[in-house]
Each structure stands twice: as structure tokens, then as C-alpha cells.
Symmetry: C2
Subunit: 331 residues, 2 copies
């Protein structure tokens, strides 16, 4: 295992110290393992928080800031955060108008966020939860009952954050978050595996000429292992899978072509070109798009595409100013 780390057990606290030193706009509590907007709690506004296993950076800590998340709580690599930690983050962002938990659909995450929500309710913090389950690759998976939560999380966090910033109430913010999840589908492909530091071995193995279609963001098995295909063929498989699950015909869309961590940006742009052509050929309009490493799986090579069917209201919320380490525009 070749990693730029000190010791496997220190990766998360070391990285959190690095985030703290790099981003004065964040308050990072290394011992409690929470990343909070420096101005949290924002009084009179709904608090938006999320969390999950580490190893998917910039998700979630990189999305903490004005117009997006109020806090994130990172677990160990590919491991759910614990209830006390989630509860601490919930308290830290509670500004009197309730807190939205954005939870990716993995069994441990769902359970621990639920326990934290109950701890919050005991302290009279109203908590609403949106469970993100956008990955069409498989029903049920290694760590999941139902579909896995992946790229839609970024869209949900951005749009819920914009609505909270605009002063909407908890019910309205939660409804918009659920709407974004329902309107988004994702599908990922791995060209290589990744290694969890504490494990020291790759989470799976792929032959020299193999790829995995429908990979999960922790290396969970997908739909099919095939011979390596061209970028255009891969993108066709990915978008066809999404389109088969939720028709994109005639839609105005937000598209994320997401690097999994180990794929160079030049290849991500090659994939985006293929995606733009596929979508145009199928009568789908792209009105907003992102290309880059946003929801990663350590050093995994490959890409994931997420497509959201926008509405004019969602587009406006997407466009609203955001100022976080990993996403910023227009303030």
C-alpha cells in the first residue's frame, strides 16, 4: 500500500487538521470530528448537515460554507460516523429553525443518523431527514438496503443549502431536498480499485483489461464486469442505464461528470464530451454541469455520472451563491 499518510489510524484526524489549517472559513473540531461553518449556528435559519465515511473528499467537509452545508461529520474511511458525533454536529448548526440531515443510503449511516436525530429531538431540536438513494446500478448492495446514495448528495446539499440560506422553513427545505433526490439518477464505473488505509489491501481486484460497470463508491460490486471499453462506450452504458430508469427525454438537466479520485481531469473532460454528445443525440438539454472530483473513492480510477431533471426553481437554487472549499460561485 502506497499512500501519502503517516499511520492508517491517523489519516482522518491528520486530514482534519489539514482542513482546519487550510480553510479559516471552517471551524474544525478534530477530536469530535466535525467540520462546521465558522459562523454556525446561523440564527433563524435551518441548519443543513451531512456526513458519512471519509475517503470521498471533497464530500462532505469540502461543501461546508455559505449557501451549502452548515456542518459535516466524517467517519473513519468508508465507515459511518457515530451517533454522538452526528448529534454534536446537529447541535452545532441548530439555529432555532430545525436541522436537515442529508444521509446517503447506507445501512450504518441511516441507523446512526436516526439515533442522532432522536438525541436531537430529546434536546428539542427538530430534525428532518432526507435519505439519498440515486444510484441505479443495483437494488441492495454490500452496505445498503435499497439503492445506494452517491452523486445526488452534492445536488441535494447545494440546493437545500441555498433554500435554507434564503430563509425557507424546515419542511420546505426537506421537501426540496427529497425532490432533488427523486429527480436525480447516478451510475458509476471503476477502472481500478482503491485501498482503505486500515485494510492495506485493495477492496476488490480487476484484471489488467477489466472494468466494473455500476461500481459503488466503496468498491461495492456493480452490474457487470467487462473488458475495458472506450470512453464513448462507457458513457453510453452509463447514460443508457440512467435513461432506462428515469427518462431524460426532453428534460433540462444538471449533469455531473465526476472523477472517482484517481482519474486525471483530462480524461474526465473526454468523458464529459462523450456525455454531452450522447445527451444532445437523445434530445436532452444540459443547462448546468460540473466536471471534476467531487464524490470520490480514494484513488479509484473511473467516473460516475449523475443527472438531475431540473425545474426552473431548482435551477435558480443551483445558481444561488455558494462559498465552500470545493464549490464556489457568484456571491
Amino acid at each position: 500500500m502506497k499512500k501519502l499518510i503517516n499511520a492508517p489510524a491517523d489519516v482522518v484526524p491528520d486530514a482534519l487538521r489539514g482542513m482546519a489549517a487550510a480553510h479559516p472559513s471552517l471551524r474544525v473540531e478534530v477530536d469530535e470530528r466535525i467540520v462546521v461553518r465558522a459562523d454556525a449556528p446561523v440564527q433563524g435559519k435551518v441548519g443543513i448537515m451531512s456526513g458519512g465515511g471519509s475517503g470521498h473528499e471533497p464530500l462532505h467537509g469540502g461543501f461546508v460554507g455559505y449557501g451549502m452545508l452548515h456542518a459535516a461529520c466524517p467517519g473513519e474511511v468508508f465507515t459511518s460516523p457515530v451517533p454522538d458525533q452526528i448529534f454534536a454536529a446537529t447541535q452545532a448548526v441548530s439555529g432555532g429553525q430545525g436541522v436537515l440531515h442529508v444521509v446517503k443510503n447506507y445501512t450504518g449511516d441511516v441507523l446512526n443518523f436516526k439515533m442522532a436525530a432522536e438525541l436531537g429531538e430529546d434536546e428539542d431540536i427538530e430534525v428532518a431527514t432526507v435519505v439519498v438513494d440515486d444510484d441505479v446500478a443495483v437494488e441492495d448492495s454490500t452496505f445498503t438496503a435499497g439503492r445506494r446514495g452517491t452523486g445526488a448528495t452534492l445536488f441535494v446539499e447545494k440546493i437545500a443549502g441555498a433554500l435554507a440560506e434564503a430563509g425557507a422553513g424546515l419542511a420546505e427545505v426537506a421537501a426540496a431536498a427529497r425532490e432533488v433526490n427523486e429527480r436525480t439518477r447516478s451510475f458509476g464505473v471503476a477502472l481500478s480499485a482503491c485501498t482503505v488505509p486500515a485494510a492495506g489491501e485493495p477492496t476488490f481486484t480487476l484484471g489488467e483489461d477489466e472494468m466494473e460497470l455500476g461500481i459503488g463508491i466503496h468498491g461495492e460490486p456493480g452490474r457487470e464486469r467487462t473488458k475495458l471499453q472506450s470512453a464513448s462506450e462507457i458513457v453510453d452504458a452509463v447514460l443508457s442505464a440512467i435513461h432506462a430508469d428515469m427518462s431524460l427525454s426532453g428534460a433540462e438537466t444538471l449533469v455531473l461528470v465526476n472523477g472517482m479520485g484517481g482519474t486525471p481531469l483530462i480524461e474526465q473532460y473526454v468523458a464529459y464530451d462523450a456525455a454531452a454528445r450522447w445527451l444532445a443525440d437523445h434530445g436532452v438539454t444540459v443547462v448546468r454541469r460540473l466536471v471534476g472530483n467531487y464524490v470520490t473513492s480514494l484513488e479509484m480510477a473511473g467516473c460516475m455520472i449523475s443527472v438531475c431533471r431540473l425545474t426552473p426553481e431548482l435551477t435558480q437554487l443551483w445558481d444561488a451563491p455558494v462559498e465552500t472549499p470545493a464549490l464556489r460561485w457568484g456571491r
Copy 2:
């Protein structure tokens, strides 16, 4: 070779089409292989342009936009752009006040930019050139006489771009660009190699427990091949090499901890934590910093650190608004 591409010969044009589709703020001329600000030429302002081999994305095309580059011209992967291409970009950004060429110190780049500058002068476009040579690892290298140009390029492009945007003349912009280069030092480390698509084989090989100290951004040999070290040891070696070449004592600095393309962001933050501690221990103040994949080498794992000794004027120019695909703040 496992890559998310169509054919090796199509990587650059495919990626440029992807950039064009992804960024409406850019005008991408795929056949001419130039990436230009949509509003170029900006009349009455110095044009800032750069270029070099592809494979280092987001450098340079990702830095084209308000407050930074006016154009970039990407060559084939790890291959210099040709004079006609550089000349076309020079013409495209000429707004009557001259054009600055930001050139990384590789023999082919320097030669081809020089020829393009002469073509520009023939058309009465005044061209000034800054050659960036910040990498302290080695004197002379595979493609270089003198020192290689690496991370300082980002600093030079940002600061020259800000000064041009503020309306400074060509001589002043060129002087500031040279000052930034002279005040910056860089040093890189590779944990794994990378593969140029057209070559199909890694540019070098490293044993399972080896790393290369002082690597170039095309995989050129560095100072020393050693056993894999901890992040703190690696950062100590990197910053000690920089500090030995240009004392950082008492300086106010801009620091870039740069992923080489294949190293996950969580590890980059681990490295930044080590760097922040090293700098504090050595009496160096960090006033601005960046952590991320900015000057990459395809899928190489490793990191590079660049340190610039700021002045109040340079800090102000660094802070000026910038709006590019890969760097944006404060407009």
C-alpha cells in the same frame, strides 16, 4: 494501459471538446487547439497567455478566465505546443497593450514560444516573456536546461492576470510575473508513475516500496529514489529542500500543496497538515494557501509543494477576484 479515453490520438481534441461543452465562459477552438476567454481580446489591457503539454490539467486551460489567463494553448500530452498555435493564441488575446507569454522552462516550450513571439512582433504585437523555473530539485533535466518550471506557474498566472485586469502596462505585468517566479520554489515527490496515452507504458517504474524525491511533472528523474516514507517525513524533505535553496525564515508565504493527479484529496490534506506544522516550527507564516490538484501529471500519485515569499502587493494581487474553471473567488 487503462484510461478513460477513446483513442490515444484523440485525447487532446476530445478533452478540448469536453471543455468547450462544460464551460460557456470559454471559447475553445478545437482544431487550432487554443482555449480563449469568451470576451478576448480585452481591449486596452495586456493579454496574458500560457501553454504547454497537456496532461497537467487544470493547468493551463482551467485557468483561463477573468483575472487570470486570457488564453492557453495545449500541446499533445507532455509535448510542447507548436509556434503557429501559440501565435494564434497570441493574436486572439492581443488587445493593443501587448501580450505576456508565461512559459515553463522546458527546452521545446521555450523555443516554440520564442518563435511565436517573433511571429507576433512581425504583426506589431509586443510580446514579453517570463520563463518559470521554480523547481529546486535538479539543475538541467530530461527536457530542460536550468531548472524546471512547475507550481510557480499557477502563482505567476494568477498574479500577472490580476495586474493586467487592473490595467497595468506590459513592462509592469512582466516584472511582477518575474518577481513571483523569483520568490517561489517548488519540489515534487512521486509515489507512482504515469502513462502517456500515445506511449502506452509508464514513463518510469517504481518498486512497491519506493518513491522518487524531486520528481518532474513529466516523470523526469529527481534527486533520489528512497523507500516510501511517512507524509511528515516526505514533507520535511520537500520543505527542507526549498528552504535550503531560498530561506523561508520570517517570511509571509503563499503555499500550494498540490496533488499530482492520482493522490486522493484526503491524503493531500494530510500533507498540508504536515506542511503547516513544519512551517510553523520554522518561523514561517502562511498567509494564503491552496490544497488540491492544480498542476498535475496525469494519474501520478504524489505531491508537490510550492512556496512563494509574498509581499503586501503580491498578496493583494493574489486576493483579487478570479473567475476560471479551476480557480475562482471574490468577484
